[in-house]
């Protein structure tokens, strides 16, 4: 019997090794798997490379992981926010490496990894400092930059509901990076608000098929907590 349900958040991240590359879903706090990140802080892994759109908000979730100095490098599109003071201080002190990637390139590099693509040409960033040193090519009169996929050891994502096969559905704009990160990691861990019986998700509406998901862990009330 296939059963990807893991009983605790701590068990779901127990084997993350020092130096691992970890994708963390979310756009700001929407879709951020904060409970899994808390479990990762408890787990103690260090020298981590984090792939996430932002670099943490306030002192929760990813910001708390940064504050605990567990992250060597972050690959993201928009680190600077009104409440990103934890990242800002580390960056100014030279204590964290930043790879800044345009948001669509970040998404497509993750998607490419999950789709088995070796590299791709994209028009985004051509002629800017974020494309310096990269291969370019003119195709049908338009300029493109060669970009490589981003693979990860783990993806930590948040979904609304999941079953024991790892099928997932999301909620509203919290979907964001979840479906693509799920495809791009050797081990994808999804925290869900609700675990449902196999067959409990409409097959026409499953967004992430279970083949991409290795562990499902219930973190019920995560959404309600975010509202409060």
């Amino acid at each position: 019997m296939i059963n990807k349900i893991v009983s605790t958040l701590v068990a779901a991240v127990a084997d993350i090794r020092d130096g691992a590359t970890i994708m963390i879903g979310g756009f700001g706090t929407a879709g951020m798997p904060s409970e899994l990140v808390d479990a990762l802080i408890e787990q103690g892994g260090r020298d981590l490379v984090i792939v996430s759109n932002n670099a943490g908000n306030g002192e929760i979730g990813l910001a708390a992981l940064l504050k605990a100095k567990r992250v060597r490098k972050i690959i993201c599109s928009f680190p600077r926010q009104s409440d990103s003071y934890v990242f800002d201080a580390l960056y100014r002190a030279g204590e964290i490496e930043l790879e800044l990637v345009p948001q669509g390139n970040l998404a497509e590099r993750i998607r490419a990894a999950g789709a088995g693509i070796g590299a791709f040409y994209t028009p985004t960033g051509y002629g800017t400092m974020l494309a310096e040193g990269k291969e370019t090519r003119e195709i049908d009169g338009r300029h493109y930059v060669l970009e490589y996929p981003i693979h990860a050891d783990f993806a930590l994502i948040k979904a609304e509901r999941g079953d024991r096969w790892g099928n997932l559905v999301y909620r509203k704009a919290a979907r964001n990076f979840g479906p693509i990160m799920a495809t791009a990691a050797k081990c994808t861990v999804a925290q869900v608000n609700e675990v449902v019986e196999l067959g409990g998700l409409d097959p026409e509406a499953i967004v992430t098929p279970g083949i991409f998901v290795h562990r499902v862990v219930a973190a019920p009330g995560a959404r309600i907590k975010a509202v409060a």
Binding site: F27, T29, A30, Q103, A107, I110, H143, R223
Partner: protein, 218 residues
């Protein structure tokens, strides 16, 4: 001369968004355009975090932390709206399915280069988000900005001095003084505000301006 207020600028941009258009409104000034879209037109707003059909700000008590726009403000979804993942959100942009985007800017060059993401100042933490994708990612790219900096310098320049967001990507510039098209032959003035002649606009602007055939002087 009568400079346009931000709301007047937004209303002027909104007038040029046609029925049926798919539109992304960038962070800052462009978000105001949403308040001025004509009610009799069905226009679908795109947000790069995975929404088509972005609706207005929710009523107090109806905010949902999982329904936010690219500026991370709480929004609503209109009837017919849809959610999708980030790679799809940018695919529909990059591939030219998105009809318009409206962006703020620090500078626009005579060739339509855009600088709007980074001052390049020492100590500034760079953050690009979707700016570079949006700059090259719509059929038509509109810029909405003040014509002059606080020090009175033209934000329309021969060459951008700030780091670029995109190369030759801007189609039209809406300022508090004028509407200007970027054409292969240079910048072409479509409109000036009340009481502003093209000669006076030229005096304030850092690069040579031409008169569009349909020029409307205020």
């Amino acid at each position: 001369m009568k400079r346009l207020t931000h709301d007047q600028m937004a209303a002027r941009v909104a007038r040029d968004i046609p029925e049926g258009a798919y539109v992304n409104l960038g962070i800052g000034l462009p978000t105001l355009v949403g308040n001025h879209l004509p009610k009799d037109r069905e226009i679908v707003l795109h947000s790069e975090n995975g929404i088509l059909g972005v609706g207005p700000t929710p009523a107090p008590g109806y905010e949902d932390p999982e329904l936010i726009n690219a500026s991370k403000e709480k929004v609503t979804l209109v009837r017919g709206g849809a959610f999708f993942h980030h790679a799809d959100a940018f695919a529909m942009m990059r591939s030219g399915h998105l009809d318009f985007c409206v962006l703020g800017a620090f500078q626009v060059s005579a060739a339509g280069d855009l600088a709007n993401w980074h001052t390049g100042a020492p100590g500034a933490i760079p953050a690009v988000g979707g700016a570079m994708d949006l700059a090259i990612g719509a059929k038509r790219v509109f810029v909405m900005m003040e014509h002059l900096t606080k020090n009175g310098e033209s934000k329309i320049v021969e060459r951008c001095t700030y780091p670029l967001t995109g190369v030759e990507c801007v189609d039209r510039i809406y300022t508090d003084l004028a509407v200007i098209d970027v054409t292969p032959d240079g910048l072409s003035v479509l409109e000036t505000v009340d009481g502003l002649s093209v000669e006076e606009l030229q005096r304030l602007t850092g690069v040579p301006l031409q008169r569009a055939p349909m020029l409307r002087v205020g």
